[in-house]
Amino acid sequence: MIEKDMILKQIGKIIIPLVQLFGIYIIINGHLSPGGGFSGGAVLGTSFIIMNLIYGEKFVEKFISKKFFYKLIGFSIIFYAFVKAYSFLSDIYNLPHPIVGEPGNVFSGGFILYLNIALGILVASVFYIIFSIFIKKEV
């Protein structure tokens, strides 16, 4: 039995993981090339939205539930706040820094990598939650 959106589902199986991988690539290369937390998070969030549109909301609920998204938001902001505070304090009081390698490597540039990752997770969760609230027509 061929369903109405069979083409969408089959293509979705191939494309969605590639989109997520691309989003993660943009986040991790934030300090070497244009991109960073915001744009990478937007791409990652869009992949969740596409999953919701093609496969229905129950599928995404089994994958990551909405309560888990809320907890991700809380934890990533607290993580971001602590790392930023640590970076300010370590400049004033000469506490240890993370490694500053040569420019061009992934593990270079100090705190920027970890901040970008937290930011990317945060933006993706917020995109998906705002979309799911809009589509239920109740705010």
Binding site: S33, P34, F38, I130, K137, E138, V139
Partner: protein, 121 residues
């Protein structure tokens, strides 16, 4: 006239701001008003970012270590405007959420009809 032709980025930004403002004021549909706010914010970002442009230099991405800081444009305005863009997106999302609530109560998105209904109640 030379003034307009030389600083065409800034003149374009101000014209775009005017377009956005007129859209905000003259249309009665709420969604068009929100689009007007977006256009206004984009005009301000264009204005700010164009203040960092230096003629003949290239974008500030370090690919080889041999170039010093003189070869790049001023990156400070672009970095600041990233924050501004995020704020504009958040405000748009909030305004759209409020529009959905308004639609559920009044069944229309047109501001004049909403005002008429309110006066009757």
């Amino acid at each position: 006239m030379e003034f307009i032709i030389e600083n065409y980025y800034e003149v374009g930004a101000v014209i775009l701001f005017g377009v956005g403002f007129v859209t905000l004021m003259l249309h009665s549909n709420l969604i068009k008003k929100i689009i007007g706010i977006n256009i206004m914010d984009t005009a301000i970002f264009l204005f700010f970012i164009s203040k960092g442009y230096i003629l003949g230099k290239e974008a500030p991405i370090v690919t080889e270590l041999s170039k010093t800081a003189d070869n790049y444009i001023n990156p400070v305005p672009s970095a600041l405007m990233l924050t501004g863009i995020v704020v504009a997106v958040t405000t748009t999302a909030f305004a759209l959420g409020l529009t959905i609530k308004l639609y559920k109560h009044y069944n229309t998105v047109d501001l004049e009809e909403i005002l008429k209904i309110r006066e009757e109640s």
